[in-house]
């Protein structure tokens, strides 16, 4: 008992310190990356190196130029680029979130089904793996053609993009759900057997909780993948409201205003990170594990 009493506060304070320290660490790395970027730029410009590519304001604009671009209007009298991109990001976030939810539900359900049948697992898993070897750019136009005409009004256009995002999302979720459900300690299963628990009970009281760390590891991958999927899905479907539209637009003006495309990339990255952090946050609420096992 004494041991427990003295152990707990240590754990708590380590966690707190971890929180503050983590933030400082992330900032320090951001600063280091900034230094690396500008340092690389400076050396290449100074010495006139042209390998692997010549460095100038077009190929590698200053970081501050990129950040400044956010607070300038691309068109005279228009809103700041940041405002435009913010709305684009919200649009893409809507697609990605819907795709993520759809993909996670499909992935989880498939994982549960496959975990309960060795035949289905052996029969279907190769095709699930194969599904991810098809380049998403090749199927995106098809999905748009198939799905779009059938969508009700509120989903018009962007619903197809959500389906494409779901296509990237479900894969890691299936694989890890399956592994997680099968990771259960045999003795924990025997315990359930001794209580004469039904398959359903074993699934919800034992297998699913045991699979949670696996599931969340997959959801973190899926969260960022859903943002990438949504952006790529926007490209062939000529949807201009999201970040994909902005990327196509600014890519055309890259040689004049490279900072706009870079700024768009920055916002897209921040959106992906936001998705990731939401999952990390939910994981902390849902999964109770020894502190050292938390990511």
């Amino acid at each position: 008992m004494a041991a427990i009493a003295s152990e707990r506060p240590v754990l708590r304070s380590a966690r707190l310190r971890g929180g503050g320290g983590q933030l400082a660490l992330v900032l320090a790395v951001a600063l280091a990356l900034w230094g690396l970027w500008e340092g690389y730029r400076w050396i290449w410009v100074k010495t006139g190196f042209s390998w692997p590519f010549p460095v100038n304001d077009t190929t590698l604009p200053h970081v501050h130029t990129i950040v400044q671009a956010l607070f300038v209007s691309p068109q005279v009298g228009g809103p700041w680029l940041l405002t435009t991109l913010f709305h684009n990001a919200l649009f893409t976030a809507k697609e990605a979130a819907a795709g993520f939810a759809l993909g996670a539900i499909i992935g989880f359900t498939l994982g549960v089904v496959l975990a309960h049948s060795g035949i289905l697992e052996r029969g279907f898993l190769p095709y699930i793996v194969a599904s991810q070897t098809i380049p998403i750019l090749a199927i995106a136009p098809m999905v748009v053609v198939w799905v779009n005409p059938r969508l009700p009004d509120p989903l018009a256009n962007w619903g197809a993009v959500a389906v494409i995002a779901a296509y990237l999302t479900f894969f890691p979720v299936v694989i890890n759900t399956l592994r997680g459900l099968q990771s259960v300690d045999p003795q924990a299963l025997e315990l359930m057997r001794s209580y004469a628990a039904s398959r359903w009970t074993v699934l919800w009281k034992l297998r699913v909780p045991a699979a949670m760390p696996y599931l969340f590891a997959a959801l973190k991958i899926a969260a960022t993948a859903s943002v990438v999927g949504a952006i790529i899905g926007e490209l062939p479907s000529a949807i201009s409201g999201g970040l994909g539209g902005a990327i196509i637009n600014f890519a055309q003006y890259y040689s004049f205003q490279p900072q706009n495309l870079w700024a768009t990339n920055l916002i897209a990255a921040l959106l992906g990170i936001a998705f990731f952090l939401v999952i990390v946050f939910v994981e902390r609420l849902v999964v109770h594990r020894p502190p050292e096992e938390l990511v």
């Binding site: 041991a3 427990i4 152990e7 025997e190 315990l191 001794s194 209580y195 004469a196 034992l206 045991a210």
Partner: protein, 267 residues
């Protein structure tokens, strides 16, 4: 069958790997209500298998297991068993209280009833105050006490324990032995206890079943007539030493009957 017979094992054999390995051969055993029976023997003697057969965690190749006058399967479905493994097998995502409440949840108890019983059980294993801790915050001995509380929470008529203290240090083990006896006296349950410690078997049991390996069979049954309740003084009682010696001899005789090493290797 006598009125208060709880477990009856008749002519039970168990073969694994399509009959290649005989784990148990022609086992007959009867256990009456309130007994504390230890199964002891060297590894490979099938003592855990016998326990698992009684608990319907595995099925006999031949013979029958009757528990409370019904088949072992029926008894399992009726939740007649509380099981404690060598590892505590607590669910990490549940607090101590919720681990203890697990079988009650499955049996459909109401929330208030569960809370009441969990409090009672944690008091019984002297872990009150640890309700909201998670398993990983407890020592091995404390975890095993939670596991015992969980096994007893729904008042099963039989407690099956498979080397429950095998992974603990000697000091903790002796303390938990005394605690287990106190719980056994309080609850009056029937206990089947697998161990490979002679001292533990003699100290705890009303009867020690000595088993021998290849194939697993019952070599001897030693009744333990030490006075109840057993205390630290019991371990210094001359009768205790006599019984320890008897069990040890029974174990050795069981082993001597084993086939010569050369022939065993030949196989």
């Amino acid at each position: 069958m006598s009125a208060n017979e709880v477990v009856r094992v008749e002519g039970v054999s168990k073969r694994f790997a399509r009959g290649a390995v005989t784990a148990l051969q022609s086992i007959d055993l009867s256990i009456v209500e309130g007994e504390f029976v230890s199964l002891i023997g060297p590894s490979g003697c099938g003592k855990s298998t016998l326990l698992r057969l009684i608990g319907d965690l595995t099925e006999p190749t031949e013979g029958t297991v009757t528990v409370n006058g019904k088949s072992a399967r029926r008894a399992r479905v009726d939740r007649d068993y509380g099981i404690v493994f060598q590892d505590a097998v607590l669910y990490d995502w549940r607090t101590v209280a919720k681990n203890v409440a697990l079988p009650l949840e499955l049996a459909g108890w109401g929330r208030a009833q569960r809370a009441e019983r969990v409090r009672e059980m944690l008091r019984l294993v002297e872990l009150d105050g640890f309700e909201s801790h998670h398993p990983w915050e407890l020592s091995g001995g404390m975890q095993q006490r939670v596991s015992i509380a969980r096994a007893l929470s729904f008042s099963p008529s039989i407690l099956l324990m498979d080397e429950p203290f095998g992974a603990l240090d000697e000091m903790t083990r002796e303390r938990l032995n005394s605690e287990l006896l106190r719980i056994w006296e309080t609850t009056g349950s029937t206990v089947v206890f697998v161990t490979h410690s002679i001292a533990e078997a003699v100290f705890l049991s009303t009867r020690v079943v000595v088993m021998s390996p290849r194939p697993g069979r019952i070599a001897n049954v030693v009744p333990i007539d030490l006075a109840q309740p057993r205390t630290a003084a019991t371990r210094e009682d001359p009768r205790y030493f006599e019984l320890v010696t008897r069990v040890r001899e029974a174990l050795h005789i069981g082993s001597d009957r084993e086939e010569p090493l050369a022939r065993a290797v030949e196989r």
